[in-house]
């Protein structure tokens, strides 16, 4: 069920080459940050909300219904909802494939780094032409 929740929060986008959040090894992230309990509590909230609102288990819902249930959990327990979603964002946007696809430069940043064009310093001409703007003071020669 966690995979279905993840897939609802961040679905795959084929055109952009971006995976669903269910395909980024969220389990490993959970183990690293020790959030298995939070994930279980949020899963429980989702299940209870699905049963209460639609009378069906979450896994039997269609995509629109799942989205509606995830959204509804935010009204029921905003703190739990936002903690979970923020963890999903943290896991997703540190995944190598995701970072490469969104244009975040070299992944990891070091050692490859990035090239940035130097630019055209003629842009400073108007600043230069207006002349000094610092205050001259007596003991400064």
């Amino acid at each position: 069920m966690v995979d279905q929740i993840l897939d609802t929060i961040i679905p795959q986008d084929e055109a952009l080459g971006l995976p669903s959040a269910a395909r980024i090894n969220f389990d490993a992230y959970c183990a690293q940050y020790g959030i298995q309990d939070l994930v279980a509590r949020y899963g429980n909230l989702v299940e209870l909300t699905a049963e209460a609102k639609l009378g069906k288990p979450f896994r039997h819902l269609d995509a629109d219904e799942r989205f509606a249930i995830i959204t509804a959990t935010s009204a029921k327990n905003f703190r739990l909802y936002s903690s979970f979603v923020i963890h999903v964002m943290r896991a997703y946007y540190t995944h190598k494939q995701v970072l490469s696809q969104i244009g975040s430069g070299a992944v990891p940043p070091f050692p490859t780094g990035n090239i940035i064009d130097q630019g055209d310093w003629d842009l400073l001409e108007p600043v230069y032409e207006r002349g000094p703007i610092y205050r001259a003071i007596e003991d400064f020669s």
């Binding site: 986008d13 540190t94 975040s104 430069g105 990035n114 090239i115 940035i116 108007p126 610092y134």
Partner: protein, 533 residues
């Protein structure tokens, strides 16, 4: 290691490192530096890994209260709208700093004469000028000469690239007819002093594994150690000791195993930063100084200045690759630096343009601000923000006020049982007006650039990284702690060389000026060594 030094330096950060290098030039004088933190390993810095945005949040977090490493001491900043940021390690806070490196202006040393506020410094910009230059040579500073807001630069490395986002904002300043200039950046853009050039990783605030950013563990320390300075990490100084004649005789320190030692010294130089230095002085109580060493006037720990910071963030329609490149070094504007009373406040501020937020920060902030949704529109929303943002930090000059202070906090203890500190700070009316003005001008810049402002905050809480004024300098012993040479008025062989001796704060990041001041003081010490030792 011998427990006898001629000169003992406490703290190995921006100022301690510069002092060590300068004083190492005296033949036959043994210089020892005690540092409470460890030496960092660049191969462990967060940006070596894809999840660097997460790794930066614990042991490289700028807040000591989050890191809680053995070298950190507790700082209770709950009575301040601005929380303190630092790093306690070999290299001090320069391990995490951005390397934005502008100098104070000539007028910053004369606020009383020019504007009737603060105090004049007992020295001038002109006296510091040779030391600004010497320091910039050692650190390696990139930028462009000819700046109309800053006189006297004659030798800089090529500027850090503006990139598309910098050009866009520079152009906006031009439309408004306002000053801007490429940042003065303590970042190698060419190989310099044996260090590699910057490769535009972005997260300089997590440590630079490339060695391009001039953190002092890469600049001053290798040179100082090569000249014989003994640098001792994991050595936390608890107390400066005095001899029977009232001269500093050395320091007690605690090593990594919790054992206490005494280093005997003929001169003691403090460089523990604007919080650590008053903490050590206040901890060093003795019968001659029951309120803390050199604290006969009660001024140790007073007049804390923090540069209250405003932040305006904007987003553009185009992808400007804005998350790439040194985050804090792009361009600056000093259009509103010098006093203009028509603005309703005295003194002024720098606008420091920051590059865009990285991916996790973009996603989580966007989610909380409801700019980025979950579900099928998530990728669309994220793509409309990521790599399209920039920020403008408004660095304001706060004035010295005695009620803004650092004091010992008997309710907290560091890993060696020494008291932590309590910060008390309130924003003055002048600072509030300045921040309001800065937020408004920041908005105008984004408007002129064709961007949309997505957030504007002041003061930003977690930005207390410029720590100044708490051991102030002055000619008169009744309203200052040290004289124009950093020498405490009451203990002749005790010197303070970090930004705690600043009389006023200027409106720029302090390290360029603090290190110039350190070199100026050390030059005086070297010239007068025979009478001082």
């Amino acid at each position: 290691m011998s427990d006898i030094a001629d000169i003992l330096i406490v703290g190995s950060g921006a100022s301690g490192a510069a002092a060590a290098w300068s004083l190492a030039h005296v033949p036959g004088v043994k210089v020892v530096c005690l540092e409470q933190g460890a030496a960092t390993l660049p191969e462990h810095y967060p940006s070596i890994a894809a999840d660097w945005e997460l790794r930066r949040q614990d042991s490289y977090n700028p807040s000591p209260n989050v890191r809680r490493l053995p070298a950190d001491y507790p700082i209770d900043d709950s009575s301040s709208p601005i929380a303190i940021a630092n790093y306690n390690a070999v290299g001090g806070s320069t391990i995490l700093y951005s390397g934005h490196f502008p100098r104070f202006h000539p007028s910053d040393f004369r606020t009383k004469s020019l504007d009737g506020v603060g105090d004049d410094w007992p020295l001038s910009y002109a006296e510091l000028l040779p030391f600004f230059k010497q320091n910039e040579g050692m650190m390696g500073v990139a930028g462009l000469v000819g700046d109309t807001a800053n006189p006297d630069y004659d030798n800089l490395l090529p500027p850090v690239p503006l990139g598309p986002v910098g050009r866009r904002i520079g152009d906006a300043f031009n439309k408004l007819g306002w000053h801007w200039w490429p940042s003065y950046s303590a970042i190698n853009t060419h190989k310099h002093q044996g260090r590699a050039p910057c490769v535009n990783l972005g997260p300089c605030n997590t440590g630079c594994p490339q060695g391009a950013k001039a953190s002092v563990d890469r600049t001053y320390w290798p040179a100082a150690k090569a000249m014989g300075v003994a640098l001792m990490p994991h050595a936390r100084v608890s107390h400066i000791t005095l001899d029977a004649a009232g001269r500093a005789s050395g320091a007690l320190y605690i090593d990594a195993d919790g054992r206490e030692h005494h280093v005997t010294a003929r001169m003691v130089v403090l460089a523990c930063n604007g919080i650590g230095t008053p903490r050590l002085l206040l901890n060093s109580k003795c019968p001659a100084f029951p309120n803390g060493l050199a604290n006969d006037t009660g001024l140790v720990g007073k007049n804390l200045m923090l540069h209250p910071l405003g932040f305006v963030e904007g987003v553009f329609e185009e992808d400007l690759h804005s998350s790439l490149g040194p985050h804090g070094c792009c361009l600056l504007s000093q259009q509103f630096y010098e006093t203009d009373r028509d603005r309703g406040f005295v003194r002024g501020y720098t606008m420091q343009v920051l590059r865009g937020a990285p991916a996790v920060e973009t996603a989580t902030a966007g989610l909380l601000r409801r700019q980025i949704s979950i579900g099928k529109n998530h990728h669309r929303d994220f793509g409309r923000v990521f790599n399209r943002t920039a920020g403008i930090a408004i660095i304001t000059e706060d004035l010295p006020e005695t009620h803004n202070s650092v004091e010992l906090d008997p309710t907290t203890r560091d890993s060696n049982g020494l008291p932590g500190v309590k910060i008390r700070y309130t924003l003055s009316e002048n600072s509030r007006k300045m921040l309001k003005h800065g937020i408004e001008t920041g908005r105008q810049v984004f408007e002129a650039a064709g961007g949309k402002v997505i957030s504007a905050v002041s003061p930003v809480r977690h930005t207390g990284w410029h720590l100044m004024g708490t051991v102030r300098m002055g000619d008169k012993a009744d309203n200052s702690v040290v004289n124009r040479h950093g020498q405490t008025h009451s203990v002749k062989n005790l010197f303070v060389v970090d930004s705690s001796i600043f009389v006023t704060a200027g409106a720029v990041n302090p390290v360029a000026t603090a290190q110039a001041l350190t070199l100026y003081i050390c030059d005086h010490i070297k010239r007068n060594l025979s009478t001082l030792l």
